[in-house]
Symmetry: C2
């Protein structure tokens, strides 16, 4: 009989103590060993994936979902290459972020330590099983992986390879625990274990994320959606604005850092909107615009309030003409999902006002919203994006999987 | 009719937007204005406190509790002086914690911004009303204060003074919101407002903190208790160990950073325990020791498992003789509340092993556990101590009331 979820989580926590003690070089070797194990088990993993795909097809799963689920030798090689990249990243654990001698002579340091145990709750993509495990383990954390039922065979095969690498490195393999009991009540039980699990990160659709956030007693870092705005200021370089708009909307519409709403200063609307409309039409983008913008965008449908709140994740864009920067800011403050906002302007004061006034996780001046990504921002990798305004805000790399604690060294100093 | 709690919280959030935009010098002036307002209202505040004290006495409240509740001109002057100290602290908001040019030329900065709205849930001490408000506001946050019913008149008078200072500075006074409806169901409603409140910090007894942690849907940073350990290693300087023990146990027994358990290496037990026993007996400390330790501590009662788990907050100490450092570590790992642990040793390797093996928020070598305090560690002030292994771990200063977000500046760079 399988252990219950609490027993499994406690075993993961105990194993995580071993991980937390590993040196940086030992962790690098472990991560490379995990990549080797994936390569060695390629045939087994692909066979397991074939079973998942067959079951999904039999259930009439759509082609987009099947594509997300599918592995092949090339995709698997990409996954193990990603593990080797994580292996080569600097170790966040042990970094000293403060070092201070107090007047009484005690030395106070803040030092990064692992969080402890991280629960990843995610949907179909089996690559998350390897990617998330690698990042958590690189930062010295135990990881509990609860993937979707569609990918259960693929995930089990991937986890088996990774667990073998852990054992080969002398780490109890419970440090990586794949939840095989996918009943919803078991996930609920997992999310109640606040004395065992230090953080839950849900990744997937808004429904899954809301379910986790609403039912968890463990801390959760999440983002529901990315309603990203591009504001074209009166002082914008308009050609640059067209480029940033096309890149932000069209380079990967299904990504959360893609643009959903374009705001245009009224003074440049007559110049900018016809150019923008043409460039977007060439790429098949549908427009939903306010009455003012539709003067220059005859092809646009009328925008509703829902359009301004929507994360389309598709070739659809909401458009609005605003009277000035302040109206753009008010619009963003009303509809923002706290993800990423962009201003296009040559006016340094306008850029500064935009940056200061908005509370979103990522605010950009004259750069594509699509850079709102851990890799692009230089974090080395990304475990997720937080729009929770605590611990981490925006793309989360390895540092976000650690916490700073205090180490104090004295020579017998007392308070009295 | 009073606004409901959600309406109040939304007003606080809107007002917090104003606070977030204030310059450092404007916040300094505001905090000094808050201190002035407290001084100006001293008579009103003391009269309100007299009402609270009379009501508490009529209810038969104990003298320790009455003392915590009581204000007088000198205590009030201490509170306004503390506000002026907070005013003078460096502003954490706007600090750039990362500044990096990516290969494509975009400049990526991480910049501290306020968390947003912080809810403080606390018990009798009225000084928390002023202290917590000052720290939250200094870091640009709105604050919702929910104190105990015993201090309601004092808290209302203090809040009235502070709110006047906010208005005088042109900030909507909802930025500081004192909850006057103290029904438990209203607190529960407050703790559900996860779209409005960014963080709840409970301060008080373990019962209050567990109640908040169990019912909150907003993020909570808390510590339940401080079961702090002092381990006297084989290589300890024994006189130093006695000093650290006496300071840690006796200088303020009711503080969470006071020692609760003494662990002694067997090789030095015969030398150390008689000295320690004598020093503690002189200060009226009761001992609960294991059989081994009682050989040298005849006055000690027999320690139970509960003793090793207890936070006495009193002149009582649990004692155990251990075979070696590893047994000391195992004991601490079993009973620790993740607060503060101390090793006394002249052996650098033993000190390093102690620091690395333990996951507590503060780990000390040859220094008193009583330094586990925001002021003593150089944070300038303390809003609380976190044993939650996320966002902040250990004493929390102003930085812990902010989060880092990304600001990106480019010249039109696109991803494709």
């Amino acid at each position: 009989m399988a252990d219950d979820i609490r027993t499994q989580a406690l075993a993961c926590r105990a194993a995580a103590q071993h991980l937390a003690q590993l040196s940086s070089s030992a962790k690098t070797a472990l991560l490379n060993g995990m990549a080797d194990a994936l390569d060695a088990d390629a045939a087994t993993i692909l066979a397991a994936n074939t079973r998942d795909l067959a079951a999904a097809e039999a259930k009439g799963t759509g082609s987009a979902m099947l594509d997300r689920l599918a592995l092949n030798p090339s995709r698997l090689a990409t996954i193990s290459a990603a593990l080797r990249e994580v292996a080569a990243l600097p170790d966040p654990v042990g970094a000293i972020t403060r070092d201070d001698i107090r007047p009484n002579g005690i030395r106070v340091q803040k030092v990064r330590v692992p969080l402890g145990v991280i629960a990843m709750i995610y949907e179909a993509r089996p690559n998350v099983t390897a990617d998330a495990a690698a990042l958590c383990i690189k930062a010295g954390n135990g990881v509990i992986l609860r993937g979707g039922s569609e990918a259960i065979h693929s995930n089990t095969a991937i986890a088996a390879a990774l667990k073998r690498a852990l054992r080969d490195a002398g780490v109890p393999d419970a440090a990586l625990t794949l939840v095989e009991d996918l009943r919803r009540e078991t996930m609920l039980e997992l999310l109640q274990l606040n004395e065992v699990i230090d953080l839950a990160i849900p990744r997937g659709g808004e429904g899954l994320i809301r379910f986790v956030a609403e039912h968890a007693r463990v801390p959760v870092i999440k983002h529901y959606k990315g309603v990203c705005h591009l504001y074209v200021d009166r002082a914008a370089n308009l050609q640059r604005a067209v480029d940033l708009l096309v890149d932000g909307k069209c380079s990967r519409p299904a990504a959360c850092n893609s643009l959903e709403t374009l705001l245009v200063h009224v003074d440049v609307a007559a110049d900018f909107l016809p150019q923008a409309g043409k460039a977007l039409a060439e790429r098949g983008v549908q427009l939903r615009a306010d009455a003012h913008a539709r003067q220059w965008l005859p092809q646009a449908a009328e925008a509703t309030d829902e359009d301004y709140a929507a994360e389309y994740l598709d070739l659809i864009l909401a458009v609005r003409v605003v009277d000035d920067l302040e109206q753009a800011l008010a619009h963003i403050q009303q509809y923002s999902s706290d993800h990423t906002e962009v201003i296009v302007t040559e006016d340094a004061a306008a850029a500064e006002r935009f940056v200061q006034a908005l509370r979103s996780a990522v605010v950009m001046v004259n750069a594509s919203s699509r850079f709102s990504d851990g890799g692009e921002l230089g974090l080395g990798a990304e475990i997720g994006i937080s729009t929770t305004r605590l611990h981490a805000y925006g793309p989360m790399g390895l540092e976000a999987l650690t916490v700073e604690r205090f180490v104090v060294r004295g020579e017998g100093q007392t308070r009295r």
